[in-house]
Structures are given as structure tokens and as C-alpha cells.
Amino acid sequence: MAGDRFFVTVFARDRAALRQLADFDLDLFQATAQAGDEGEEPRIEGLLSLEEIGRLVEAGYRVAVEATESSRSRAAEQVVHLEDFLKSMGM
């Protein structure tokens, strides 16, 4: 499951196209949206499946794949319990 999705950057031709991405109802990280300086494409980061990437490419967006989902999933690695946390805080 985790391997099926990818962290991506989606590039749009202009700001209007970037806003229209909201209509696709995808897992795009709104806080990462950038209008882009002069000469730069507006962009946003997200977590998409291959099928979703295909839909965006077909709709005229450029999608750069940055990483697999699993490579940035660290929540379950080395879960810290209270005793270890307090020890690390000098208590």
C-alpha cells in the first residue's frame, strides 16, 4: 500500500491552473503552494498514486516525482516511550 504512492511536486502553467487543482480532490499540501517568482512555474507538493499522476499529466500539469511514500514515512520507526523521553530530558 505504502509503495503505491509518491511524494510529488505538481507544476501548473499559471496560478489559475494551480487553483484548479483543488477540483481534482487529491492529497495536495496546500501550505506548500507557491505562486512562483517571475519565470517560475506555480507549484504545489502532494502525495499521489500513479493513476492520479496520470490524470494530472493528461490535464496538462507537469509532475515531478520526488520520493516514495515509504521513504518518508518515519512515524512508526523507533517509537519513543515515556521513560526514554524523560531520560533524554534529564529526568
Partner: protein, 491 residues
């Protein structure tokens, strides 16, 4: 040695209880009214030395979105460090940013700091479970009759919830707003805290990621000139959040100034930790939203004027949801510095002086004057903005100079007599007292504060002979800049 991973849900809950149990003089456990969807008990902790209605309250929350793994750890770390530093009489350091023991004492002595580190424990448990999904965002609501689980808690607050701006009605969406505003126990818990602690006037919701300091509003661009264009006005339904529709959301100019001043302080404190400069910007960014926590908190006073104004920010920390733990520790330091700076900004030097000199009965009248001044464009509003800009420093100076504090208390008593006697004017004697206090403060102050104090001192002669109404009011006399003619240096 810092932790080499992230706290489990159980460890966060246990840590909150540990803080309350180990620092009973200043930390109080707050059991939240509702359990999570999956039945987990949730606790906040209130950190304060003392009580009473005149204390300002600050609410700090995190863990609304499950996959944003660093922020609950950051809040329990800050709560623990704050209690430990206060108890030991020490300062706090976050990378290159340091706060003195006096500043920490001031925060705990003057404020009610309510910390809710993990709003969404079910989501975090799912994210940390080998059988779960590391990138799950929502809570774990069952959504009966619908195909997918979970509600986006940060689209479930009662701010333009029914508008659908930036949200989805599909349960499978990551921005599913839920079946109704506050349909989820986790968002209702935040509302309960704001209701149950009516002195809460400051709020930060810590999210990830993108290194942003965000201020309201999130539904449309801000404007400060047309109060009728506001989120409650049905005439504009359908126009909000639509590019080119001509609608912009009203925010009082004084509030916007406060957000810009305070947001810059938070940003700069974060930058001092290790040089990462967060961007301060309005929440809307490129995508309008509704149902978010910070807009809800701030909107409450506009919906019901009996409710205290709650000024809220959202922090977007770091550059990914689940950074490697060493990077996570740096982010925890950044959050610590940004939030301590926010706590200092929440301090009010006037309230501090009134509290410490037994002048709290003067506060009600002075608050009325403050609230009125904040809606004008007169000199008093500029003075208020100066006070907001330097709140932490002013409070620190008063806390460390007893003689100065006593004299400020006496001046407050005299000023409050102007409030109770509307025809009374600011006489030369009181002007001279204020000028003398200004000189003493300036001698101890930073360059920026000294500059502002000197500005006020230069303008004092022009205020002499005026009633409080004339000083605060929006009359041309009050609003006009002081003239050179007739100004004298009364020092």
C-alpha cells in the same frame, strides 16, 4: 541524548499526566470533556502560578492532523521545559535563541498557558501502527453509510463550515469536512476549552509543513475598510473564496497590525534557533479554506461579542511531515522558541503592573479605553501598537525593577481616574509623571523600545489639557500628528 524517534500516543498522554503530577504547584491536568472517536481519554495541562479572572490565557494545540508527527512532541517538550525551568529558576535555550529566567518566571506568573499536545490521538495511533498508514491525515471517524473513514478535523470547526470553501463532502477525501460543524469529539474538545476557559485570548495550532507563520483569514483576502464584507453577511454567500468575485474578508486594522507585529516576532525567534526563516503570510495563501481552527477561534468574538477575542495563528513547521529524528529535534527547538516568543507577546505590561500593585480594579475601565482606542486612528491607537510591539520587554522591565513598578502602578491609578471622570483632562502634573516614567523606562530599554518611548514623550505636551475622549477619539484633533509649534521638551 535527545530522543531517537517520536513519542507514542500513550507516551504523550502519560507525559501530560507526568507534568501535572510532578509540578503540582504550577501544572494542572485538564481532562477534556469528550473521548476520541475510538474512546481514548484526552488531557490538556494548564501551566500557571496562581489564578483569577484577570490573567491572560493562551491555548497551544497540536496533533490535529495525524501524520504531522513532530508537533505533539514539540508541545510536551515545551510544557516540560517550561515547568522545569520555572521550578529551577533558570532560563530556556532553543539552539541560538535564549530566554532568561526572569522571562520564564514572568510567563508562568502572569499567564494561564493551556497546552493540548495531541488533539487527534486515534489518528496518531493509526499512523504509528505497522498495520496503519503513516500518511493518514484525518481522525478515525467511522462515517456510517459512507465508503471511507475519517474527518479532516481542521475543516470541521464552525467557521463558514457550510460554505464548502476548500473542503469536500466526500468521506474519501483528505479534506472531508464531516457531516456537520463540530461533528467530531476532537474538535468539540477544542471548543470546550475555549468555552470553559473564557480568559483564553491567544491561540496557536501547530501543523506541518512548509515553514510558515499563518494568520487569519483563510477564506478570502483580507481588507480593513469595509466591515460589511464579513463572513457573517449572507449577502456575500457564494462570493467568498472566489477569485475575482470582489469579496474580501474584513479584519480590523488594529488586529491586522497586531498579527503582523506578533507574527514577525514569532518568525524572528524561530530564525534565531538555526537560521531557518519562516514566511509570515495570511492563511489563505493560494487556496481558500473554511472550518479551520485559527479562523474559528478568531471568529468567535465577531459572532458573539460577549466572547473574548482570541487571536490565533497556525504554524506550519519543517519541510516534511515525518523528518528524520535529528531534524525533528531541531524543529522542536524552533517550535519552542516561536511559542515562548508568542507567550511573551501575550503578556500585557499594564495588566502586569496593575496585578502586582493591587490596581486590578482599574483594569475594567482601562480595558474599555483600550478596546475603543483600537478601533480609532488616533494617537492612542499608535500607543497601543507600541505597547503590543514591546509587551514582553515592558513586562520584563517592570518585573525586575520594583521601584519602577510601584511608580507605574501609581500612574495607572491616576490614569484610571480619567476613565471614571470623563470631563477631567490630562494635566501637566500627570504629563510630567508619565514623562519621568518614560525616561526611566527608556534608560533600561532596547533601542527599539527607547525610540518608541521617546516618540510618546515628544507628543505628551500635545495631549496635555485633553480629556481621555479627545485623546482616544477619532476627532481630527486626536488623529492629527503633533505639531512642532508649541511642543516643548518637558524633561
Amino acid at each position: 541524548m535527545p530522543p531517537t524517534g517520536y513519542l507514542s500516543t500513550a507516551a504523550i498522554e502519560a507525559c501530560v499526566q507526568f507534568i501535572a503530577g510532578n509540578f503540582p504547584a504550577i501544572a494542572t491536568l485538564i481532562p477534556l470533556r469528550e473521548h476520541s472517536v475510538e474512546g481514548r481519554a484526552i488531557h490538556a495541562v494548564r501551566i500557571a502560578n496562581g489564578g483569577g479572572a484577570n490573567r491572560r490565557g493562551v491555548l497551544l494545540i497540536a496533533g490535529v492532523h495525524a501524520r504531522e508527527i513532530v508537533n505533539p512532541d514539540a508541545l510536551v517538550t515545551l510544557a516540560l521545559k517550561l515547568c522545569q525551568a520555572y521550578t529551577d529558576g533558570t532560563g530556556l535555550s532553543f539552539g541560538g535563541k535564549n530566554y532568561s529566567a526572569e522571562q520564564i518566571a514572568l510567563i508562568v506568573d502572569a499567564l494561564d498557558v493551556v497546552v493540548l499536545p495531541l488533539v487527534n490521538p486515534d489518528g496518531r495511533t493509526f499512523v504509528q501502527s505497522p498495520a496503519g498508514q503513516a500518511m493518514w491525515r484525518k481522525n478515525r471517524a467511522l462515517n456510517p453509510g459512507q465508503p471511507c473513514r475519517g474527518v479532516d478535523l481542521n475543516r470541521n470547526f464552525d467557521f463558514l463550515w457550510s460554505s464548502g470553501i476548500g473542503t469536500s463532502s466526500s468521506s474519501c477525501s483528505d479534506v472531508f469536512k464531516g457531516p456537520s460543524a463540530f461533528s467530531e469529539p476532537e474538535t468539540r474538545n477544542v471548543r470546550h476549552l475555549l468555552d470553559d476557559y473564557p480568559n483564553l485570548g491567544y491561540f496557536i495550532d501547530v501543523h506541518s509543513y512548509s515553514e510558515l507563520v499563518l494568520y487569519p483569514w483563510g477564506d478570502d483576502d483580507n481588507q480593513t475598510t469595509d466591515p460589511s464584507q464579513n463572513f457573517q453577511n449572507p449577502v456575500y454567500n457564494g462570493q467568498r473564496g472566489v477569485v475575482g468575485a470582489g469579496y474580501r474578508e474584513y479584519i480590523p486594522a488594529f488586529d491586522l497590525d497586531w498579527y503582523l507585529i506578533t507574527g514577525a516576532r514569532i518568525r524572528d525567534a524561530i530564525a534565531d534557533v538555526r537560521g531557518r526563516t519562516y514566511t509570515l503570510q495570511q492563511s489563505i495563501g493560494l487556496y481558500p479554506t473554511s472550518g479551520t481552527s485559527d479562523d474559528y477561534a478568531y471568529s468567535r468574538t465577531f459572532v458573539d461579542s460577549q466572547k473574548r477575542k482570541v487571536r490565533g495563528f497556525t504554524l506550519e513547521t519543517g519541510q516534511e511531515f515525518q523528518p528524520i529524528p535529528t531534524e525533528g529535534q531541531q524543529i522542536i527547538d524552533e517550535v519552542g522558541a516561536g511559542l515562548v516568543e508568542f507567550l511573551l507577546a501575550a503578556l500585557c505590561a499594564v495588566e502586569q503592573a496593575a496585578r502586582l500593585t493591587d490596581q486590578t480594579r482599574s483594569l475594567t475601565g482601562l480595558r474599555r479605553v483600550r478596546d475603543r482606542a483600537s478601533t480609532t486612528s488616533g494617537a492612542a491607537r499608535r500607543y497601543l501598537e507600541m505597547a503590543e510591539r514591546h509587551s514582553g520587554e515592558l513586562a520584563s522591565l517592570l518585573a525586575t525593577d520594583e521601584a519602577l513598578l510601584t511608580d507605574v502602578g501609581a500612574a495607572l491609578q491616576k490614569l484610571s481616574s480619567l476613565v471614571s471622570s470623563p470631563d477631567k483632562t490630562l494635566d501637566q502634573k500627570l504629563t510630567a509623571i508619565l514623562d519621568e516614567l518614560g525616561t526611566r523606562l527608556a534608560a533600561l530599554a532596547s533601542d527599539a523600545l527607547r525610540e518608541d518611548i521617546e516618540t510618546v514623550q515628544r507628543e505628551l505636551p500635545d495631549l496635555t489639557g485633553r480629556t481621555l475622549d479627545q485623546i482616544v477619539g477619532d476627532s481630527p484633533e486626536a488623529a492629527k500628528p503633533p505639531t512642532t509649534k508649541g511642543r516643548r521638551n518637558i524633561r
